[in-house]
């Protein structure tokens, strides 16, 4: 016997009915690695953290993030970083500047010549990290020190993410076309549904007749 559903497509799946053996637990990495996504809301705005995606590689992560985070709202650019490639400082308290209390550690690994690093600041717990800017450094630790000098004055800052620029997959200028269809999809906006007009009309037509 196979499972009968109200939905003929489900019935056609021929799913077994009744007791079935338990599913094998999903193996490790069945859901892949994680990547972190940052979006740019409009031209010239700082890139802001939107959230993670699971993906088998950077390119697929980009596609997933495009669907997940730029499907519904305006977007002009997307950055993707493998989670492992983000260096995270400890979290500080709200209303304080983390750079003031940060212990700068001795680099464990450094490059011969300086290379660019992207710096992201979290201004308040619960909010999203935003791109503060780019510094040149030979290690994550040096990048953090450079960041303190370059943009560490304007607190509060509760957490800092440091990423090597070459680990960031950035959408290209000519990719922007992929977001241009969004304004056409008005049926996904609350404003497209003029419910009140219909209700008012209905009430007008169905006024209870008052007794004479």
């Amino acid at each position: 016997m196979s499972l009968k559903s109200l939905d003929p497509r489900v019935t056609r799946l021929n799913l077994p009915e009744g007791e079935v053996p338990a599913m094998e637990p999903k193996p490790e990495l069945d859901q892949f690695e994680t990547y972190e996504a940052f979006h740019q809301k409009k031209e010239g705005a700082a890139y802001t953290y939107v959230g993670p995606v699971h993906a088998p590689n950077e390119d697929v992560a980009f596609l997933f993030a495009k669907e997940q985070y730029s499907r519904r709202f305006a977007c002009t650019g997307l950055w993707i970083v493998r989670t492992e490639n983000v260096q995270v400082t400890p979290y500080g308290n709200d209303n304080e500047n983390l750079y003031d209390s940060l212990q700068f550690e001795v680099p464990t690994q450094s490059s011969d010549i300086p290379e660019p690093y992207e710096i992201f600041h979290l201004k308040k717990r619960g909010k999203a990290h935003t791109h503060a800017g780019r510094v040149m450094a030979t290690s994550y630790e040096e990048a953090l020190q450079e960041a303190k000098q370059a943009f560490g004055e304007k607190g509060p800052i509760v957490n800092v993410w440091v990423v090597r620029s070459k680990d960031v997959l950035q959408s290209a200028e000519e990719d922007k076309d992929m977001w241009t269809t969004i304004p056409e999809k008005k049926y996904r906006e609350a404003i497209a549904y003029k419910v009140m007009d219909k209700i008012t009309k209905y009430k007008e037509e169905n006024k209870p007749t008052t007794a004479q």
Partner: protein
């Protein structure tokens, strides 16, 4: 879409007394100051476990909730409705992704959560164990189940855990369309032909009992409940959510000339509270524990998707891949 995250508090948690008092004090002071907790902060085991449970059930509810509505995409009347229904279902699945990630930051892997969903160990909102017989049922889900979900989610968005709040903010922004879309669909039917009115009333009659159980039974105020409220994990009692929902939506149902199938439903003007027939909690328990009209189908469909897609995921897996928890 969401529901029932606070319903199943049967697990025995570690005693808060065994936590490091200095760390606990610092943690509680942070929450009392109105600051959010972020993933690398120290947190009590009870906080971590309860949040994993809530967020995971929320995620499962999104992914399973997409099934009764998804089934109507191909049969939605007209192209515009198909597009809108598809966009809504896609949103719900996207919400599941956001929520699974938020739960992952607390230390439970997505593989484990999906395994627990399919084995029945983790629950999802009980309302999705009921079928959507007609297009009108799908409309009632889009409007009233989403409305209930929004009441719940707006409350939880003010909770203390940073990643959950961030996910919920995004979810609530997307849900604004769902609610209007659902309301519009119901209004269209209710102000249409006699046959359409009859269909939407029949769907409301079918869905009202599950809707009344949506927020779960009255909370038993235990020490745990008080602790979870102080820690801003639980933001409102189940009864408060239910009352708020009735306040907001019963008038909107009545203004369409539809009836709510509960002769005892009325607002007590002295207490300001809605009175209603107590939902059938025995049925609720029976259905949650597997004996509902659609439990087997929902899990079988989910499981089939997992099993039939497994070879694709294996083929794509980078052999050097290494799992790192998402950051925030």
């Amino acid at each position: 879409m969401y529901g029932g995250g606070n319903v199943f508090e049967a697990t025995k948690f570690d005693d808060v007394q065994t936590e490091d008092p200095a760390k606990l004090e610092e943690f509680e002071a942070r929450i009392a100051r109105g600051e959010k907790i972020e993933p690398t902060d120290w947190m009590p085991e009870l906080y971590r476990k309860q949040l994993i449970r809530m967020i995971e059930q929320h995620a499962h509810s999104e992914i399973i909730g997409a099934l009764p509505e998804g089934t109507w995409i191909t049969r939605a009347p007209g192209f515009r409705r198909k597009m809108a229904q598809m966009a809504k279902v896609q949103d719900e699945v996207g919400h599941a992704q956001l929520l699974y990630s938020a739960a992952e930051t607390l230390g439970k892997s997505r593989e484990q959560m999906l395994t627990d969903l399919i084995s029945g160990k983790s629950k999802y909102s009980n309302v999705f164990n009921y079928p959507a017989f007609t297009w009108a049922d799908s409309n009632i889900i889009s409007w009233l189940i989403d409305a209930g979900a929004i009441v719940n989610q707006m409350a939880n968005a003010k909770g203390s855990y940073g990643p959950y709040s961030r996910a919920l903010e995004r979810i609530c922004a997307e849900e604004a369309f769902h609610l209007k879309y659902g309301h519009d669909a119901v209004v269209h039917m209710a102000t249409g032909t006699p046959k359409q009115r009859e269909m939407i009333q029949a769907a409301l009659n079918r869905w009202w009992p599950p809707i009344m159980t949506f927020f779960g039974p009255s909370d038993k105020m235990s020490t745990h409940t008080e602790t979870l409220m102080r820690w801003k994990v639980k933001m409102a009692s189940n009864d408060e959510c239910r009352q708020q929902f009735l306040d907001m939506y019963v008038p909107k149902i009545w203004e369409l000339g539809l009836t709510v199938p509960d002769p005892n439903l009325k607002k007590n003007m002295e207490t300001g509270q809605w009175e209603f027939t107590e939902p059938d909690w025995d049925e609720f328990k029976r259905v949650i524990n597997g004996d509902g009209p659609c439990n087997a189908e929902r899990l079988a469909v989910r499981r089939t998707a997992e099993e039939r897609g497994a070879w694709v995921r294996r083929a794509l897996l980078n052999p050097k891949a290494k799992y790192v928890k998402p950051l925030a």
